[in-house]
């Protein structure tokens, strides 16, 4: 058996996923016990698929939770740190696009009074 598939897991509810997680963990425990006794090759291979399935289920649980949380925090001022934009530390501390574009009154007036002129030569 090749283990669970992600697209089938995504349709499940949180409770279902957690139940599946418990099942998989129990299977892994029994496989480990078999290994201690001396297991066949097929069982050892199965261990790998089970471990990866557990990882898959956990990933999907996490992804769903985070997606829900992002919806919840959308538009709010303060967001948990791990949901914020990551970029790099320096980039986060840079001026925002809006802040960079701000001009003084003086500058604004100048740009209106003396805009960049375009000239063309008559051929």
């Amino acid at each position: 058996m090749p283990g669970v598939k992600a697209y089938t897991l995504r349709e499940k509810s949180k409770a279902d996923l957690e139940a599946q997680l418990v099942e998989l963990k129990q299977e892994l425990a029994s496989l480990r016990a078999q290994k201690a006794r001396g297991a066949s090759a097929t069982n050892l291979v199965r261990m790998h698929t089970v471990r990866k399935s557990i990882a898959r289920v956990l990933t999907i649980i996490n992804q769903q939770q985070r997606a829900q949380l992002r919806l919840f925090y959308k538009g709010k001022k303060y967001i948990p740190l791990d949901l914020r934009v990551k970029k790099t530390r320096a980039q986060r501390r840079q001026l925002t696009k809006h802040q960079k574009s701000l001009k003084t009154e003086k500058e604004k007036k100048k740009s209106i009074a003396f805009p960049q002129r375009k000239y063309a030569l008559k051929a």
Binding site: K25, A33, A36, R37, Q65, P80
Partner: protein, 146 residues
Amino acid sequence: MAPKSKTTEKAVAAKKAVVKGIHGKKVTKIRTSTTFHRPKTLRLPRSPKYQRKSIPHAPRLDQYKVIIGPHSNESTMKKLEESNTIVFTVDIKANKRHIKDAFKSLYNVDVAKVTTLITPTGSKKAYIRLTSENDVLDVANRVGFI
């Protein structure tokens, strides 16, 4: 005394200001001890505006992580038959209480006591003694020991 009018009140206040000065009287605390102790101030509990971590982590050392698998050799078989004890490899970070609870919840048996040791190879071995009413061999079969 003639009833005080506003003008006389004003005059009296002005006189006082000139004589005594306009600064109020300085009030100094009476200190009854020579040592100065830091005064106790208000300490508010935390009320964060947002959680720092979005999702608190699930318990990292759950029952499946604590108990790794049965440990089997001739001496453990002997312990199984004689002292009603089953030997397990266990996560190093687990303590005896963790092991007891994990075993109980996983295999539905009562545990009398747990002794642990850390092997020279760095793994933890737990000698789990079951209460006398439980049949160790039965548990061992379920676990996959034998």
